[in-house]
């Protein structure tokens, strides 16, 4: 008993520290994975996620198109926007960032972005992500068409939660209708059509893991180019280079609830999206996965917001890691933001609890910065609260 008390005293004493230095353990033997309770920022989840998942799964999550110029620029762009507190700070308890997005009541302007195949991240997969988002103040989740769990099964995971469905255009309208029926019958009211990423190539993923047998653009395919026409002559996969606005018109007729177009980076495309019946757009470069040397999503957000001029809600994604990032996007005209990679880090690192913690962490960070800037409500976060130095 006395000995135990002695040991307790010793543990915190400088004598114990001195003893430890006499026989130091080699640093390499000190390996310890941080626990969920130790996560301080969203960035802390990534190494845990990295350690938990298979390398190809990590690469799929981490990398972007081409040289990843745009992937990097997505992060850099947040540094080009300064937060300018124009009002006196208020207690975080006075901040209420709730809003309604196309009929969905949101406590925070934060949404789980559609990302593919979550079962490889964690056995709970998409169902776990939906449970986590529902637990985190009923956060709206967008489910990727490349889900590893069927829509109906995911939606059953969190009764009362809101799940929307994302998909890539299917040239055959019968197949499109069939997909829409599947999504809507499962209970996905909102539909997101991703219209970017027409011809992307993840060369870093290819470099690091060199997936066997996958034919990369630019490789000889054995077909004589003389026999080919159009884009195929240049060894381009034609699967996504046919997209048209007429197709969006057709989809509009099939979707009973909100129709969201994801991948808008130009004010003209934002105008066209409204013209063709979009209920909202997502300003997004697919987290740097769509087009290398394209702009960061943040740098084009102000001009797109100007073009939309409040007619429809603008959602934003690509590069968000902090509450301040969300604040900047909201200030530059977004009505809400989507979290892709970070939610994958959360789920992959600590399962449902990790995804929930990550979403709540960013919700809290956003409230903190809003409070510090004296923004009690969502409309208070506007362009007067930031100074942009876009290059």
């Amino acid at each position: 008993m006395a000995l135990a008390r002695m040991a307790g005293l010793m543990a915190g004493s400088p004598i114990a520290a001195a003893v430890a230095q006499i026989d130091p353990k080699p640093l390499s033997e000190h390996r310890r994975v941080l626990s969920l309770a130790e996560m301080q920022t969203a960035f802390d989840f990534e190494p845990v996620f990295f350690g938990n998942v298979l390398l190809p799964v990590y690469d799929y999550t981490a990398h972007g198109d081409g040289s990843e110029f745009t992937l990097r620029r997505n992060r850099q762009a947040f540094d080009w926007v300064d937060i300018v507190p124009v009002r006196a700070a208020i207690p975080p308890s006075q901040v209420d960032l709730s809003s309604e997005l196309l009929g969905v009541k949101m406590k925070f302007p934060i949404i789980v972005a559609p990302t593919a195949a979550m079962v490889p991240l964690h056995p709970e997969g998409e169902t776990g992500m939906f449970k986590a988002s529902a637990a985190a103040s009923n956060t709206l989740m967008m489910l990727s068409v490349n889900t590893s769990t069927p829509h109906a099964q995911v939606i059953a995971g969190a009764p009362g939660g809101t799940l929307w469905a994302q998909f890539y255009p299917l040239e055959n309208l019968t197949n499109t209708q069939r997909s829409m029926d599947t999504f809507q019958n499962a209970g996905c009211n909102g539909i997101i059509v991703t219209i970017d990423q027409q011809s992307s190539f993840y060369e870093r993923t290819q470099q690091d893991r060199n997936f066997g047998g996958r034919v990369a653009p630019g490789r000889a395919t054995g077909t004589t180019a003389a026999a080919l026409t159009g884009a195929a002559r240049y060894r381009i996969n034609g699967g996504r280079v046919w997209y048209t606005w007429q197709y969006i018109d057709a989809v509009r007729k099939m979707v009973k609830g909100p129709l969201v177009l994801k991948g808008i980076l130009d004010p003209e495309d934002a105008r066209l999206a409204i013209e063709h019946g979009a209920d909202a757009i997502i300003v997004s470069n697919h987290g740097g996965r769509s087009m290398d040397y394209g702009p960061s999503s943040l740098e084009v957000l102000p001009e797109i917001a100007a073009a939309v001029n409040g007619r429809i809600p603008i959602l934003f994604d690509s590069g968000i890691r902090r509450g301040t990032d969300i604040f900047k996007a909201l200030a530059l005209g977004a009505n809400g933001v989507c979290l892709g990679r970070t939610t994958r880090w959360g789920l992959g690192a600590f399962g449902i609890a990790g995804a929930q913690r990550l979403i709540e962490m960013l919700q809290q960070e956003l409230v903190q910065v809003a409070a510090a800037c004296g923004c009690a409500k969502l409309p208070d976060i506007n362009k007067t609260t930031v100074k942009t130095n876009l290059v």
Binding site: G66, R75, D79, D196, A220, G238, D266
Partner: protein, 377 residues
């Protein structure tokens, strides 16, 4: 190992299996053993009598390379540090200040990159540029370069300092050949006399053949250009234009095209991006003659930017040489096809189905990036 053995190795990828990452990074053990760097056999440097013969450099299988820049490390493996030095390096400073504007829902399935230059139809506006003495980098030199360029359906410019006879090169080529000659070179007359197989003559005005660099301030010797224009019935292209004034003068002298270029006789330190020099020249002479460009084009996006500024064609230098050195004609084909595909991909993603639809609305020029912040990620 004798040089010809080395060349033979470059032709057919060796069967060795290095760690792919290791080989790309150029840190294969064979390099450390000194085999690659020295023309001397490795055994001559080592007294050990029972040493195993040095294995071949372990090149990455060509089909595993994912971008043009990866060819550079392979060329370094094959050539060794001394021989590869003249063709190393890239300048990304200006390219990284320019972003492209993607557009959605514009179908590009019928994508068409064909263009007409000096009377010939070209598969894409990507042309293999002039480089002297290519046997320095591969035993089959210009003939292999022509074979590779032709396989990729790209035109090729043959240097007046070529290491192989024009007739042999022409025999290997199925695409248009252009001839390049230095203004004031004593070879001008010979080059023009032998130009039968060529479709155009490029006269380089800002460098001397193997000689000292001409200062940037030096005036272009227009009389030397006149000599070339008068000496041939082929269209003459002036390479080395950096200002609209020079381009205007070139048109007045009967020149049929210009290449915006800041090439300074292989002095890499003098390189700066040419991308921002294109638009003023195009504004001045673009409606009269095609404006071409060269200088550090490494990605399809770089080429698309040049086309957006009004260039009608882009000359590729070092990357095709990396391809030639490492993999012979196959490497040249690989590099050119990779650039063609990248150009096509980004045209598709910017919603430009043809070169006619490529214009300045596609690009945005930004200030140089501020110093990196400490913001993680």
């Amino acid at each position: 190992m004798m040089p010809e053995d080395k060349a033979a190795l470059a032709e057919k990828p060796p069967a060795g299996t290095a760690s792919r990452r290791q080989a790309i990074a150029g840190v294969g053990t064979t390099v450390a053993a000194g085999m690659v760097g020295a023309a001397m056999p490795a055994s001559a440097q080592s007294p050990a009598p029972l040493r195993m013969p040095a294995p071949a450099p372990l090149l990455v299988p060509r089909a595993d390379l994912v971008n043009v820049l990866e060819y550079e490390a392979q060329a370094r493996l094959v050539l060794g540090p001394a021989k590869v030095a003249p063709i190393l390096g890239s300048d990304r400073t200006v390219t990284d200040r320019i972003t492209l504007r993607p557009r959605m829902n514009i179908p590009t399935r019928d994508l068409d990159l064909t263009c007409t230059l000096f009377g010939d139809q070209h598969f894409t506006p990507i042309i293999v540029g002039p480089m002297a003495d290519q046997k320095r980098f591969h035993s089959e030199g210009e003939v292999a370069m022509a074979r590779g360029a032709s396989a990729a359906k790209a035109a090729m410019v043959v240097s007046s300092e070529a290491s192989m006879p024009l007739a042999a090169i022409a025999q290997a080529a199925t695409t248009p050949l252009w001839l390049q000659v230095y203004a004031n070179s004593p070879k001008v007359k010979d080059v023009l006399a032998a130009a039968g197989a060529a479709k155009a003559v490029i006269v380089t005005v800002n460098a001397t053949a193997g000689g000292p660099t001409i200062p940037a301030s030096a005036r272009i010797d227009w009389s030397a250009v006149d000599t070339v224009v008068k000496g041939t019935s082929l269209p003459v292209i002036v390479k080395g234009i950096t200002s609209p004034q020079d381009a205007k003068e070139a048109v007045a002298r009967g020149v049929k095209g210009v290449v915006v270029s800041n090439y300074r006789g292989g002095n890499a330190a003098a390189l700066t991006g040419t991308l921002l020099l294109i638009a003023p020249v195009v504004q001045t002479v673009g409606d009269q003659i095609p404006v071409l460009v060269d200088g550090s084009f490494r990605r399809g996006t770089d080429i698309l930017k040049a086309l957006a500024f009004g260039a009608k064609g882009v000359l590729i230098g070092r990357p095709v040489m990396w391809g030639l050195a490492a993999y012979g004609a196959d490497g040249v084909q690989g590099v050119v096809e990779m650039l063609q595909t990248e150009l096509a991909r980004y045209m598709a993603m910017c919603g430009r189905p043809s070169l006619a639809a490529v214009n300045s609305s596609l690009v945005r020029v930004h200030a140089p990036l501020p110093a990196a912040s400490n913001n993680r990620g």
